[in-house]
């Protein structure tokens, strides 16, 4: 993800003497990164409308803070961190102020009103539901390592926790997930 180039500088032409405005750099990268950002948001909070709101707020914040993005660093980690912090704010608000809408209920509704559900669709719903069953701090580690494929080190930087904590949360989260999805042979035997 460090393929930052100075193309934009070439186009910006005469008057601006090769200055690239941070907003343009960040804006351009947000446009191409939008699908990744949306996947990350859906993985964290599942409900598509909530995820889309998160993505939108993330873009606004990223643009407002564009000057603080260092093009030599990873753009994905930078925006993922913004989105993840917004998501945590949201969880915190729900906890302290009381949720405005019961999000879990919303998920169930969207799942129940299914069209013709393919095998892939079903397993997606099963895994999404299992992820939602995990505590947020385990869920976010699983998402960044197993879906976004960050290394333990990069995940630790993104989540601002030690690598050891990444590993213990990730291991616990995966064992819990395996029971929730029934991947674990033991769990499969004991459940009907």
């Amino acid at each position: 993800m460090t393929e930052y180039t100075r193309e934009a500088a070439v186009y910006s032409g005469e008057t601006e003497s090769f200055m690239v405005e941070p907003v343009d750099v960040v804006g351009e990268r947000l446009v191409s990164f939008l699908p990744n950002l949306r996947r990350f948001a859906i993985s964290l909070c599942r409900a598509r409308d909530v995820a889309d709101d998160l993505v939108q707020q993330t873009c606004e914040r990223a643009l407002a803070a564009a000057a603080s993005f260092d093009p030599e660093t990873r753009f994905d980690a930078w925006v993922f961190r913004i989105l993840r912090n917004l998501w945590l704010d949201q969880l915190r608000r729900q906890k302290t102020a009381g949720p405005a809408v019961d999000i879990d209920e919303m998920h169930d509704l969207s799942v129940a009103s299914g069209e013709a559900q393919s095998e892939a669709r079903l397993s997606l719903e099963r895994v999404e539901a299992a992820l939602q069953g995990l505590p947020p701090e385990q869920r976010e580690v699983l998402v960044v390592v197993c879906i976004e494929e960050l290394s333990y080190r990069d995940a630790a930087d993104l989540l601002e926790i030690p690598v050891g904590t990444v590993m213990s949360r990730l291991a616990r989260g995966r064992k819990a997930l395996s029971e929730l999805t029934g991947i674990n042979p033991e769990a499969r035997r004991s459940s009907p």
Binding site: P35, R38, I42, N85, C146, A171
Partner: protein, 267 residues
């Protein structure tokens, strides 16, 4: 048998995160221990399952509204960059001061005409021209919330900031307001910050105070008339933008918060 192999180590093996020597150790152990292989399978299977089911989410059709909102946000940000001074004139009196200290103020300062400025319409205008304000001020200030507060109120507030756990309430007897502590976090400089609400008979203030070298300082305060108990959406947006601007970290856990405010008191 080799020494006990932890879940973390097995998982790191499954994820290809081990150094060659450790990797070899696990490979050897796996060859002679079926139970270990079963434990390993949990980590390999969960990773596969997540990757196979969740990665294709990237191909889900992008909602047009989301794309449109990004395009609009880029245009707005660009414009704000070109004309950083296009903030509303009503914000003018606020520009010189970026931080309102919570400490007792000199009476000259108390005479500043702040109280009337902070009303809901102003807050909305501010939220709308937010990016412009950031550039223009080089910082955030949404004004002091209650105008002239007696010193006793500040003391009570300081005290609450250093004792009240998030999620709990306290009455501020001097002003007749009730204080609801929302959360604690650290800003980019590592200062402890606390977000709270103060609810009076006819107005509600959402505020963030941070503890710096000079003690507690209000870094953000936005007052709205109480309207059936709802906080206008613009307040949340403005607060979010502020939090992002100061590089606010994740909310502290109750244990972290207790330890941090304890540390302030015993300093």
């Amino acid at each position: 048998m080799t020494r006990a192999i932890s879940d973390e180590m097995l998982m790191a093996f499954a994820d290809g995160e081990l150094a060659p020597a450790e990797q070899e150790e696990i490979e050897k152990a796996l060859a002679e221990d079926d139970e270990l292989a079963e434990r390993l399978a949990v980590f390999m299977d969960t990773r596969d399952e997540l990757a196979v089911t969740m990665k294709p989410l990237i191909d889900e059709p992008m909602p047009a509204a989301l794309e449109a909102s990004l395009t609009a946000a880029i245009a707005t940000a660009r414009q704000a960059q070109v004309t950083p001074q296009t903030t509303s004139n009503t914000a003018e009196p606020q520009r010189t001061e970026t931080v309102v200290p919570l400490r007792p103020r000199a009476s000259a300062a108390a005479a500043r005409p702040t109280g009337s400025v902070i009303s809901s319409p102003w807050g909305m205008a501010l939220a709308a021209s937010f990016v412009g304000i950031v550039v223009g001020l080089g910082g955030f200030l949404l004004g002091q919330s209650t105008g002239v507060a007696p010193d006793g109120a500040n003391l009570a507030l300081n005290e609450a900031l250093e004792t009240l756990p998030s999620g709990t309430d306290r009455d501020l007897p001097t002003t007749g307001e009730s204080l609801h502590m929302i959360a604690s976090f650290r800003d980019a400089e590592g200062h402890l910050c606390r977000e709270y609400e103060r609810k009076g008979a006819d107005a509600m203030t959402t505020a963030v105070a941070c503890h710096g070298p000079a003690g507690w300082q209000t870094r953000f305060a936005l007052t709205n008339p109480v309207a059936e108990g709802y906080v206008p959406a613009s307040t949340t947006d403005t607060l979010d933008a502020f939090l992002s601007g100061i590089g606010a970290g994740a909310p502290l856990s109750p244990e972290e918060e207790t330890a941090d405010i304890e540390a302030l008191r015993t300093r």
